[in-house]
Symmetry: C2
Subunit: 279 residues, 2 copies
């Protein structure tokens, strides 16, 4: 999916909601456990219930990987079921030397490899340029690079001040955002930005005025949708805001899909207001 197609979807659905498919077999409604593939059955119901309100789906690969080969099959089926007009994100936080990153890129982008063809993958920046370029070599595919995350450990390295960044003294995450923009344009590069850091979101928007920002953690991780929207939205959208647990586990009964739909709709309605107040 291209930048303009994603932007179009956002204004058509009046939503920048990304539904995080962090599907934990231990949290599934009990009545699904007799299904042949409870994870896929659950995801299918969640997608059916939320597709009207979401522009993106983001399976967290760890949840599937932890099930072994069976988990990868649930992931393949889930990805195939996501509607064509939704932007798909493999939340995998990969990154390695060139020939290995190339294999991770094939895994998530080339359906001939592992039966998966996501639009994008989340990538960790620590190993630098040549660990990221193999993902960017896939035309029309996206890298969503970790920049500033919402967890306490983001203070350990991401927020450390660099002596001599491109802008003089600045934090590591600022250098990551600046440096990565020399590798790819905003048509292939997004950044992961933790929602709890609204004071820093403004700075990040200055550094990356045209890139989409993927903001995880509005909801369960304590972010504030109004702040994120005010500081992050652009004329072309420019935001994907993720919600996972609030939607997936709104109920653990037979009404789980209806409750997920209500949660997604409530978020979409708030987003529609923020989009309407753009100019």
């Amino acid at each position: 999916m291209t930048y303009s197609e994603l932007s179009e979807q956002i204004f058509q659905k009046r939503s920048y909601l990304c539904v995080g498919l962090d599907t934990d077999p231990r949290k599934l409604p009990r009545h699904l456990l007799t299904e042949a593939d409870p994870v896929f059955t659950f995801n299918k119901a969640i997608i059916d219930a939320t597709a009207e309100f979401a522009v993106s789906y983001k399976p967290n690969i760890a949840f599937y990987e932890a099930q072994g080969p069976r988990g990868w099959e649930s992931l393949q089926k889930t990805l195939a079921y996501i509607p064509e007009n939704c932007f798909t994100i493999a939340d995998a936080k990969r990154g390695d030397i060139g020939n290995t990153s190339d294999l991770y890129a094939r895994t998530f982008f080339d359906s001939a490899a592992a039966g998966l063809a996501f639009d994008s993958v989340t990538v960790a920046p620590y190993m630098g340029r040549d660990s990221v370029l193999p993902f960017l070599a896939y035309e029309g595919k996206w890298v969503i690079l970790l920049a500033l995350t919402s967890n306490p450990g983001s203070a350990d390295f991401q927020r450390q001040q660099l002596h001599d960044g491109p802008l003089g003294s600045q934090a590591l995450f600022e250098t990551v955002i600046q440096t990565a923009q020399t590798w790819a344009g905003h048509d292939q590069l997004m950044f992961v930005v933790g929602a709890t850091q609204t004071s820093e979101l403004q700075r990040i928007r200055e550094l990356a005025p045209n890139n989409f920002l993927l903001v995880p953690g509005v909801g369960a991780q304590g972010g504030n949708l109004a702040d994120v929207s005010r500081l992050g939205l652009t004329k072309t959208g420019g935001l994907l805001v993720n919600a996972s647990r609030n939607i997936l586990y709104a109920s653990d009964g037979t009404d789980f899909a209806d409750r997920a739909r209500e949660e997604a709709r409530a978020l979409q309605q708030e987003m529609a207001q923020h989009l309407a107040s753009l100019d």
Copy 2:
């Protein structure tokens, strides 16, 4: 495997060789392609040929993941086949917020999850303390944290000077090595250190006098075993030196296992000399 058990293995086999199982289906000897599971058949032959000379095996997870569910089955079988007295490394470069890192830890450490029980996993440090602790919560299991890698992109962030590290101005990788030692002792924490940076290896050994260093890339990536050994070895061993392509693809004919054995033996013999000169 504990620190002292690994150390014992090293002095018993007079080797600190780690064989990297970066098994690429496109590079297998042609006569194996008719096997039911060519990747496992190849790995089994490589392990049989090299186990006398290696103290560790390191499957690069990307190579298995890129085969989808089938690849995970080859990985399960490969891990089960590695002899008990060898230290096993899941080279996965994982790292995410706490609850997701916990799932990655289960994937690679808890056989009840994905059928895998590695001794260790490689982890990327960018997200900080709480992204690493879930791996360390597994008693007797190891984190091998990315510190300084051998690829050109290591200059982008790892070598950037920090304004105010624990030691004043120092590189990011030095801060990573120092900070991580406040999270775990040398009985659970190793560092990945690129072999081409021998000038920096001395500095790293000062910062982490007791931790094992995993040095990938002696051989294909241009490292020098003599320099690495002189600067990295300690009285308890302290080094795992990885070789992958040189061993795996020494021949693409029916003699591939014999040639792999010769390569592994040559490395072991050089290592035995370096260990002997330790005194």
